[in-house]
Structures are given as C-alpha cells and as structure tokens.
C-alpha cells in the first residue's frame, strides 16, 4: 500500500516539476524535440533511482557533516556513467543534449530526493521513490516536448505528422519561453483538477 503510494504520488499529485517546480531549467532546454526529451527523462530517472538506492544503503555509515560531498560523488559518478553510455550508443542524441546531461548533477530533483527521502528510508523504498520521481519528471518533459515538436516542427519523433496537411510551423514553439508557457498551462490544468493544490 505504502509502496504503491510512493510510486504514484510523484507522478501526479506531488509531481517534482509541476508541483514542486524543480528541474525547470532543463525542462526548458531539452524539450524542443521528443527524442532528446525522452532520453533526458530516462537518464534522470536512472540517476535518481540509483543515487537514492546507493545513498539509502550508505545512510547509516555516512556522518551527516560530510553527507553532501558523499551525495555529490555518488550522483556525479552516475551522471558520468549515463553520459558515457549515451556517447557510446546514442551519439546523435548525446550531441543534441550537449551540456544538459552533465548538468543532471545540478538537477534539484536528484539531490532533493536523496536528502528528503533516501537518507531516512530503506533501500527498496528509496529506489522506488527515485524511479517514480524520475518518471514524473520524464512525463512532464515528454508532454512539453510533444506539444513543442508537434506545433513547432509538425513532427513527432521526427516523423511528419501534420506538416503534410499544410500545417504552418509555429516557430515560437521552438523558443524556450514557449516551454515555460506550456509548463504553466500544464500546472493550470493540474491545479484545476487537484483543488487542494490551489493557493487561497
């Protein structure tokens, strides 16, 4: 029961991007096309899951005064693994994502989950929490990228979808401000559905 709630909560009701407003920077940068957005989302999921797992295993052995350094070492190691993997097997996407893979280290979601959850919970719970938060982030990224690629380029995953019907590309969609507006609209819809999130 608790485990399943751990998993579903970050996907919607406590989504890291649209409720906690974390990880916005990369959400603006990598959502022009669906493919890099999806890869980015999965990379972050991998990093949050395993940094949570590792830190949860280490939680009783790390003195709290040096815990941030230990966390950074763990997260940085995982990010380098992801980066090298992408360069080896998905070079094109890796080039599109450029510095943003390396910048996963600074993504607030990763460190936030380690601090807030992994240090106080058992490894398996932490692992699930990491996956769920990563997927919550990935879901929003893919949603934003879906609208941006569809209306900005008329394609989805590079396949021509509506351009053939004489659709005129909206180049504003390719600019980062539009990603912010789309995230704003998602938050608008989300809060209309979840009334308890609305500020009084």
């Amino acid at each position: 029961m608790k485990l399943s709630k751990n998993f579903t909560n970050p996907l919607a009701a406590n989504n890291p991007v649209i409720v906690q407003i974390l990880g916005i920077c990369s959400a603006l940068a990598v959502t022009v096309k669906l493919e890099p957005a999806l890869v980015m989302g999965l990379s972050v999921t991998f990093v949050t899951a395993f940094s949570n797992l590792v830190m949860s295993l280490l939680r009783n052995g790390v003195p709290s005064r040096i815990r941030i350094i230990v966390q950074l070492v763990v997260i940085a190691t995982l990010v380098i693994v992801v980066d090298q993997f992408l360069r080896a097997f998905m070079y094109d996407v890796s080039k599109q994502l450029s510095v943003y893979v390396g910048l996963i280290i600074t993504n607030c979601i990763v460190m936030g989950r380690v601090e807030a959850f992994a240090l106080a919970n058992k490894p398996w719970d932490s692992f699930v929490d990491g996956i769920a938060n990563g997927l919550g982030y990935a879901f929003i990224l893919v949603l934003v990228a879906f609208f941006r690629e569809l209306f900005g380029s008329g394609t989805l995953f590079g396949f021509d979808v509506i351009a053939r019907f004489g659709y005129e590309n909206n180049s504003l969609m390719l600019f980062p401000p539009m990603a912010l507006i789309i995230i704003g609209c998602i938050i608008w819809v989300h809060r209309t559905i979840n009334k308890d999130l609305q500020e009084k």
Partner: protein, 373 residues
C-alpha cells in the same frame, strides 16, 4: 416601448435564478453597453463620475478612427489605386475581415471566461480588438490574427485575472506572438501590400539598410508609405492623440516623454556617429515619422493598465520606451522595428519603477518629519 423598458422587461430572465440565469454576465455586458449603469456605491466615501471603463474605452476607439480610416485608404493607395474613394473602399474590404476576426475571437474568449468565473465582462478588449488588426501587416492570414488574438487574451490577460490585471499590453503581445511564431508572414518585403506580387521595403527598412528613403518627409508624415495598417500616418495618429489628451484618457506625461526619449537617443546616436544604420545619413527626427514609433507612443505606451502609475514613474517609463525603441532600431540588426519590444520590455519594468518612486517618496517624507522634530 423604449429600449430601456425592453431591457428592464427581460432582465429577470437573465438574473440569478431566472431561466437564462447562467448568461447573466453576458446580459450585464450588453446592458451597460447600452446604458450608463445607475448603481451607486454602498459603503465608504467615493467620488465617482459616469465615465466607467466602457466609456473610456470608447473614447480610445474614437481616437483610433482617424488612423484606421487613413490606413484603409493607404492600403488601396499602396496597391496602386490613385482616386481616394475607390482606394478607401478597397482597403475597407481588406481590413474588415481582420477586424471582425479579431473581435469575434477575443470577445468569445472574454465572454467564456466571464461566464465561467461569474464576473462581469471586461471591456478592455474593445480597444485591443481594434488595435490588433491595426498593427498587423495587411496581407497577414486571418488564422494568424485569430491565433495571436487568442494567445494574447488567454496567456496575456485571463491568466493574470482579466482586464486591469495584465502585465503586458494585449495587442502588442498578439503582435509579438505573430512576429516570433510566423516571422516570414510578419516581416519582409511582400507583407505590406494587399495586392499579389507587389513587394517593397517599408520606409523604416529602407532607412535602416540604405540610409535614405524614397518618400519625402511630408509623405511620411501624412502616411502614404507602406507599413502596418494603423502606423503609417503620423498626422492621423496626432489627431487621435489630441482626442486622447483633450478627454484626459491618456497620460500626456507618457506621450511627451516617449517622444523626448526617442528624439534624445536619436540625436545622441547621430552625435556619436554609430554607422550601422540610418542615423548617419537621415535626420534624427525621421525616427518619429517612420515605423510604429508614433502609434506606439500614443496608443500603446499610454495603456493605463500596463504603464507606470506614479507621475514621476510615468516620465521615466515613457523616456525609457522611446530611448529603447531607438536603441533597438539602431543597434540590433535583427529587428528593424524596436517599438513593440521596447514597450513590452518597459511593461515588465513599470511596477519596479513605481516601487522605487513610492519608496523614494516615503524616504523623503520620513526625512521631513525628522527635520521638523
């Protein structure tokens, strides 16, 4: 039976609990459109005159009419029709669909939001709906007009809470949306002409690229030059400005300081001798005649919602609008027209200016008290 009686008779149907009660804000909108509301303030001391937002907005629309009429004539004139009336009629037929599309889209969204949120219909769109087609090139497709109007009303206005709450001028936001989303349809040589196959740079573009324009100063002042519908005729815009100033609807401080800021920076650039654009060869005051400078100064920068509210703030705000417009025109080669971006930018800064003006005033008066003690 007079109109008033008819309105009174059908009023219960549209009131709370009536058969069509869910439409009450729509009804209210039309009622106050026809008659000055006779409601009085119940509590507190208020001085109120009958000039509600609706009447203020109508004055602005009236002030826009000279520029609109001339713009219609100019559409025909630029398409090669020499006589006045046929040229006007040609332009009228080109312009009418744009105005209708802009009003229908914008008002439909406003009405929908008003019904949903159960408040009165905001009148602000009466002006925005006319401004939007006037700052677009005449050949722009109607769906772009509709899309950018919808964007401006929803993202620019309704998400902030409707008329009076918006940070940015909705009409300019519509233009900015269209400009960045569909750049090829909003700039270049072909978009300023209604007839197919006609092309030519606007006066501003000619000045920016070659340092001179093929029209005389007088023609540029009268407005027989290509450009967006409303912006070409400085003369017609000045008539509108006179109406706005005479009725006290727009702030003379802002208007004056926009022109002052523009002129000051135009002369400054000329004195320094920045050589990438028009400034070297053309007189500095050309800046005020070509492009959207005058139109923006009179109708956009003075928007009472998005401009600075304090008197001192208005001077700073206006001066910065004019100065930034010229800076963008001269220094940024990507945008020949700087007025739109400079006003939107200063819209964002206006609350900050007001904040510092108020803080300074408080500090000054505190010091005064200290000195007396």
């Amino acid at each position: 039976m007079g109109l008033r009686q008819i309105v009174d008779k059908i009023k219960p149907t549209f009131s709370e609990g009536g058969k069509l009660g869910f439409l009450h804000s729509t009804f209210e909108g039309f009622e106050t459109f026809l008659f000055v509301p006779n409601t009085t303030t119940q509590r507190g001391a208020h001085i109120r005159d009958c000039n509600d937002i609706k009447r203020v907005m109508i004055v602005v629309v009236l002030a826009l009419v000279p520029a609109l009429l001339f713009g219609m004539y100019n559409i025909g004139y630029q398409s090669g029709i020499e006589e006045i009336l046929p040229a006007f009629w040609f332009g009228f037929l080109k312009m009418l669909p744009m105005i209708i599309v802009s009003y229908v889209t914008g008002l439909a969204i406003e009405f929908a939001f008003a019904q949903k949120r159960k408040h009165e219909i905001n009148e602000g769109f009466l002006v925005s709906g006319l401004l939007i087609p006037m700052i677009m090139p005449i050949s722009v497709p109607l769906w772009i007009v509709a899309l950018s109007t919808a964007f401006a009303v929803i993202i620019g206005k309704e998400v902030f809470g409707g008329t009076g709450m918006n940070v940015f001028n909705p009409a300019l936001l519509a233009r900015a949306f269209a400009f960045f989303a569909y750049t090829p349809k909003m700039s270049g040589e072909a978009v300023w002409y209604a007839a197919d196959g006609q092309t030519g740079a606007t006066a501003l573009e000619q000045l920016a690229t070659t340092g001179e324009m093929k029209w005389s100063v007088m023609e540029a002042f009268i407005g027989r030059i290509p450009g967006s519908v409303g912006e070409t005729s400085t003369a017609a815009i000045l008539i509108g400005a006179a109406i706005l100033l005479f009725t006290g609807v727009a702030s003379w401080r802002i208007m004056l300081s926009v022109f002052a800021g523009g002129l000051a920076f135009a002369y400054l650039f000329q004195a320094v001798g920045v050589d990438i654009t028009m400034i070297d060869d053309a007189p500095a005051y050309y800046h005020l005649l070509v492009g959207g400078f005058a139109f923006g100064a009179v109708f956009m920068a003075t928007d009472p919602v998005t401009s600075a509210q304090t008197n001192c703030g208005k001077w700073i705000y206006g001066f910065m609008v004019g100065a930034l417009a010229v800076i963008i025109r001269v220094i940024n080669p990507a945008y020949p027209e700087g007025m739109m971006l400079s006003i939107l930018f200063m819209n964002a800064l206006a609350p900050l200016i007001d904040y510092f003006v108020v803080e300074r005033n408080i500090a000054r008066r505190k010091k005064l008290i200290k000195n007396v003690k």
